[in-house]
Amino acid sequence: MTRVHDLAVVGGGPAGVAGALTAALAGLSVVLVDSGARLGGQYFRHPAGAHPGTPGFDRFRRQARALAGRADLLLGHQVWAVERRAADAADAADAADAADAADASAALTRDGGHDSAFTLRCTAPDGSPVAVRSRRLLLATGAYDRPLPFPGWDLPGVLTAGGAQALLKGNGVVAGRRIVVAGTGPFLLPVAAGLAGAGARVLGVYEAGGGLGLARHPLLAAGKAGEAAGYALALARHRVPYRTRQAVVAAHGERELEAVTVARLDRDWNVLSTRRLACDTLATGYGFVPQIDLGVQVGCRTRADLDGSPVLDVDDRQRTSVPGVWAAGEPAGVGGRHLAELEGRIAGLTISAPGDPVPGVLARRRDRLQAFARALLEAYPIGPGWQRWLRDDTLVCRCEEVPLARIREARELGATDVRAVKLLSRAGMGWCQGRVCGHAVARLTGAPVGEPRRPLAQPVTLGALAALTSARVETAAQDPAGVLDPAPPPDPTGPPAPTDPPAPTDPPAPKDPPAPTDPPAPSDPSAPSDPSAPTDPPTPSDPPAPAGPPGPQGPSEPTRIPGETGTEAGDDSSAASTADGKDSA
């Protein structure tokens, strides 16, 4: 018997946690799934004791703790697909589980029109498949960095700005000694300030856009003066120069980064002059790409954001175009953690009280923050001149090692859209499925950045796919690992070349007993998913976990919902048949 939750939330950042908590407080049964070992998402993902002065962290931690006792948490679980079925299927499945049905879920069912059955296909830390079922779905999957290619950008030592931040915040590792920060957007400021504060020598922040300088930074608009001033102060204290209309246009080194070329740019980002700067690390980012794969999979309508990025189209109740599916945070448009939390909260409210209006104070606050987010996106457009930073042999697609010349060839062969360019050049056909190069390839093709069509949001083993198609899966429910192919299968999302490494998510032998310890973060409630046996989240003084014997992805004890580990038989052959569908956008 598989329990059907009222709400499944994908993403444990500020948006997902706020949404899950709001809905749980309203009485819904909630399950939250996140691939990370700890709650927090990209902003609050700190291990124990490593969050000095992160604004908002205490607030987030309170929310995460409150959530831990009220919802099921599946940490370290990657969602690779979502399926939707008609409402009656959900009800039928639920009938067996009627004892679970709270008043709130009865209200949901009565509301009608918005009920569906969703199944999230997940990979647990030990590699085993886990199916999570719910009546409603909140997508709060965040975003990832948008890098631009330039000669040498694939040298080790070149990191995305978010990657440098993740190293620092999630691991306490300063990315390098002599670091250059370059790109565009307000995110460069916290990254540079964080690195400098952690002891790195930050040689400069090179903002390709702007032209205004820190004193007139767009953050100053709309009530972010304090934040902007804080960063300005931090940079000044560490004597970090902040230069606008400058960019890193090339990286140099034999086996790893040794120097970068910094250029002065005109307003279209054409190079005016260059100089060389010795450094060991570059943190670079040109904004964020919202993570919308799961929404696209389930059929949510998208819209192009101001920067051209496709985002999930939501109404003022955070509902997507697909009944029963909500989105909050970056997938609905990049806007930072405050907006993410607020949108999550609004989603939680409208999910649990479908008839009630959005409280005016929340709606107005969201409108303000959204206006601010739009202003920031508009303040940091990507100038077209970056395309001339590339040389013929500059890799555009890092996975398939596709240089600019091959993309040009594809265009000369008549390819005019991204799909054709990809098919001819193989750009975007590798491991990352075009997540890293997608924007660049679209721009180099002269085409709009289309919505991603990725049948698999995360790599998955053939064993897990095969398990879905099996009609006899009762045994799988008892022994999920048993359905997995122990041999390394080819990765269905990966390129077909025989020399390819096998699937990175391929399960290791589940040799380990469950870990006795908690994940280290104080923010991590590490809630037992069994609601009948609630335990307290670890306190900040808890000693960090000896990275005990967890699965490959993380939390030492994969929290799991009893009875949820199996897969269901049924309408799943379509998921398996997508294995070779690949990225066709």
């Binding site: 291990p47 990191l159 999630g170 990175p504």
Partner: protein
């Protein structure tokens, strides 16, 4: 409870603080690449840091490659580079 432990990289010890990923531990130890690309043999290590780019695929304890930036390091892990 161990706060610090070691893993090995091609037999050589690398210190880890509990909670760190394999990728973070390697990067912190100055090991910035641990595999080579298929065609050009170009070195690869961390890039996106959050599991998106797959640059950092790593072999640990002989298992099939996994993303080093997501993989929590465990005492005694044996990393082999190529």
């Amino acid at each position: 409870m161990t706060d610090a432990f070691e893993i090995t990289v091609d037999g050589r010890p690398v210190p880890v603080t509990a909670g760190q990923t394999v990728g973070a531990a390697l990067h912190a130890a100055g090991i910035r690449s641990w595999r080579a690309t298929r065609f050009g043999g170009r070195p690869r290590g961390l890039f996106c840091g959050i599991g998106v780019c797959f640059d950092c695929l790593v072999t640990v304890n002989g298992r099939p490659p996994e993303r080093a930036c997501l993989l929590q390091a465990r005492p005694g892990d044996e990393v082999t580079t190529s």
